[in-house]
Amino acid sequence: MKLIALLLALAAWPAEAATFKLSLLLPMDDPRLERGRLERAAVGQPGGSAADGLKAGLAEGRFELDAAGHKFELEVLEIGNAAAAKAAALEAERAGAAVIVADLPAPWLLAAADATKLPLLNIGAAADSLRQSDCRRNLWHVLPSERMRSDALAQYLAARRWQQVLLLTGPNDVERAATAQASIRRHGLKLVASRPFKLSADPRDREFANPLLLTQGSYDVVWVVDSDGEFAVGLPYRAALPRPVVGDAGLVAVAWSPRFERFGAPQLSRRFAKAAARPMAPYDWAAWMAGKLVVAAAVAPGVQSPAALAQGLSSSQVDGSKGVSLSLRPWDGQLRQPMLLSDGIAVVATAPQEGVLHPKDALDTLGADAPEKLCKARL
């Protein structure tokens, strides 16, 4: 474990000011931030350290924190494995932290969550299992789940009546492909074929590696599931038919796009770009949002202790520059939020799509809803 930085956020004036400690856990030698992947800059992939967004979110709380007489102390730790994640969570609790923010792979995240009673804000793992079979009472998810992303896309396809879907799945994405298939079913789309692909130049593998051969048949769209991104980014315009690509290339459902033009989004994107010297990626938005959430919990009336802050987190209502107030779903700990559908150049649409109905909140048409009771730990 390596201590990287200690940021003293923002002075406050009243003497009885509370100082809240916040730990940010980052993966050491993050493979998502390797140069090649950063340079590829596929839509929906991380663009840099989560610390940038979190610091920006906390910094924006300055006036509100001043008024409440509070400040935040942020500790950023790099973690190398699940055991280190557990140790870091224990240490954060011992040191009196109020909240842990984590940009970690799912198994490490669970190791940290199980080691402490502190609330953990997940800003890096989209796996649905973390919101369902592997959910935890103290684990909250700011990053949208895979299912929220695939539901957003499926809503759009249904609205456009692009109903015939060809699904292409990468070698490490079986779980994500299952999520996509469930969204396809739920929205009345038709899966015309599902094929695995692999990255290969071997002529014997051409059936699985050649976009032209993979996309034979009849369909309205090609939905590609590729968390790595190398295959997906090369797929648009290479299909056998003149049909759009969606999923992890072409039209991608994301939490944020620096090209979003509404609800004050350009101001936020510009602030972030100024502070971090790069465009605001969806993961940066989640990190920024985590900062906004803890600030909102800290400035709620009567909050003086880390425990009170942690308690207040679940009822925070926050503005994420997406036009509506956002809050955490009690049934799976997920932050409900609109999704943006972007090709990296424009925001083509947002979800929930206009006309999509829900008995309580249209945002709950994205991701697992309460009656499904998929997170037993929160029942």
């Binding site: 924006e60 709380g61 006036f63 008024a67 004050g264 602030r271 107030s325």
Partner: protein, 327 residues
Amino acid sequence: MLTQPHGSASILVALMLAASAAVATAQGVAFVSSEKDHAISVVDLKAQALLGSVATCKRPRHMQLSVDGKQLWVACSESNQADMIDVATRKSARRISLGEDPEVFDLSIDGKTLYVSQEDDATLIFVDAANGKTLKSIEVGKEPEGVKTSVDGKTVYVTSEVANMVHVVDVASATLLKNIKVGKRPRRFAMTPDGKQLWVTNELDASVSIIDTGSRAVVGTLQFEIKGARAADITPVGIVMSRDGTRAFVGLGRANHVAFVDVAQRKVTHTVLVGKRAWGLALDHAEKTLLVVNGLSDDLSFVDVAQAKATKTIKVGRVPHSVVIVE
């Protein structure tokens, strides 16, 4: 949002000038800024028809009449300028610089200073209306928006959409006197004519916070409801009050309605269906017609105040932002 200019004698002169310069049928015109056309649409109030447009600086947003009513000040967010449009000739008279990404502004009582919110820098600046020089800069919460000068001119109020606050700024010392916590994403202001109540719209709370300017505290909250619409879809932004301060009119954004409010009772009396994302509002002098700018349907609705009904909607420029009436 439309602010009543100060000094009524000079307005009369201006109104007469404007009327004489206008085409024969027009008894008055409305200017509607259009964010994506870099132009201001000119609307004939009597005919309720588009007369034409005036070219201006890039991304015009908020507009206000000068103190003498002869000029229309326009804040242009993309070219960081204010354009001063001669109301009589409907041509740009001069332009001054206006900081960085100006959005909303108000004038000092003497009209010599512009108080401007700077979205990107998160500051309120004082700008010399004569030469565009930034005289003072005060750091406020992120994404400042609505700006309002107090009736005595000594105080300026500015909202921060991110900090969920109204900042109270002392003009003489150019310092923050107080930060008043209001609802979520506070946007624009209206002031009662006696200067005692400041109303601020909270876009993400479907409400208006009512601030007592004496105690500088929130003394009431007015919650909006529209039958069949969820609270999340009621996003109030624009607000204007009648001259006698008895009625307020609030644009409810995504709910596509305008609410009429009894100010003393703090109660909604009517809601009127208009176009998409109703924001900017203006009342004509007789207070019989309310103009409503619909930002996402690129049009302007005429609302008959007595009937509480939209009577006509006309197309204006792309992404209309504000409306100012000159009669």
